[in-house]
Point group: D2
Chain length 145, copies 4
């Protein structure tokens, strides 16, 4: 459940289902929705680190924003598929954090299929003004654990 | 361009295109998205009445919220279809407004096809607290024109 | 976990989280997204009855479509809220099914808050042609259990 | 209206509005939605080249898929903002096409603000099988005009 360590540790993983809302007329998951899936996993990863984003905002006025995304689409997912979305922190600065994420199709007992992978960079800003701020200490502490 | 009058007047109408983002694996527009289409048309109808919602919020702290929706789906729309979304005010209270809306598929020169119709009730609330407030006078004045 | 019986039985319930993707600039869940939440719960309810929609389509060429929705919005949900979405079948015809659904905010130990409720009518159609068909026997059997 | 030429030509541009559906609880456009905005502009760019995607699919069984996206977010957009989304083809292969796209906030008479920019790579596949195919000649011809 921790991602602090080396490549050897298994990354944090969040399981979700594909519903009608996620698909498009190609019969598969609409590519933009992987950004949503990746964010759900980041949110749960933060929650596992003890960070609730609504509480963080209420307490400190700070919100996370996404500043860069780079995704590669390898295979499609369909309705009812179960996906595992992983989160691996790659680089942490004072006011930014880069994460590597992947979406895998869970195939029952068989080997999973990598559907999409990419890099997401997030920053820390004051809600309202969007002025960059340093990561709250609770976050830095959680990440360096 | 005005909806103030009787049933005889043609209703306000907003044209839009169906894009990939709007479709689902059934090959047609995902039904929940008609609520988005209806709202785009209401927003443009308000703008035609001189009401910009972001400016209204900045000036008065008031936002509109949707309190009731009832939609009936009659025929599907597909990628690249051009739709005309209509807005007809049906009933106005002090802090609420009921609108009748329809989505029509534009078929070039031929008669349009009714795809979806319904009733949307909106209310006026203070942003943040969501406490009901009376419609700002600029709105009531615009509606009673 | 069964919805076959009378009002006395607790309805089927599906828990989900509110993520950034679900919210709008009002700071709360965008009202159209309750249709998505309701559908996720219906999908899980069908799955609990042994019906997978992708497999149903692959096996029989049949898909479900939504033909009527009527929703009432009572209170807003915010980022990180945990919601319980309920499903209660109300009326079943040969080619249609009406369900009553509610969204409740889970408040830890305290009483839950009803946020949204409504009625959804679904029909059964042949994928592609959208011609109405009778509910596959596996569905009727599951519903009459 | 053509982007075939050198850097000197102004790129194809598509104007759109920001509606409630596009925003999130940060009070600004949800970052994933720029992928939707970029796609709307690509769709209109293709249409201006004489290519309708639904007709292409009906006629040839071919659909476009997105295989890579890389976006950088520079400034936020808010409700009611008018955006200009540009499309500039950067590199064309036999079965893939790379486009550079930007989102600008239209500021009335004043200089526009660059909000988001990135690179989108699309491929051509057979609908259903998702097997890569060469771009239909009508596309190659349109692009080399």
């Amino acid at each position: 459940m921790t991602e602090a360590g080396g490549e050897a540790d298994p990354p944090f993983s969040h399981r979700l289902r594909v519903y009608w809302e996620d698909t498009d007329a190609g019969g598969v998951v609409f590519y933009a929705n992987y950004l949503k899936f990746f964010e759900r996993a980041r949110t749960e990863w933060l929650r596992a680190l003890g960070v609730g984003q609504q509480r963080l905002r209420d307490d400190t006025g700070v919100i996370f924003i996404v500043t860069d995304t780079a995704l590669r689409y390898l295979a499609p997912a369909r309705l009812d598929d179960e996906l595992d979305i992983t989160v691996r922190p790659a680089e942490a600065g004072r006011a930014s954090l880069t994460l590597q994420q992947q979406a895998w199709r869970h195939n029952g007992g068989a080997a999973a299929t990598l559907l999409c992978e990419g890099t997401i960079r997030i920053g820390c800003v004051a809600a309202g003004s969007f002025r960059p701020v340093r990561f709250p200490t609770q976050i830095s502490r959680a990440l360096s654990r």
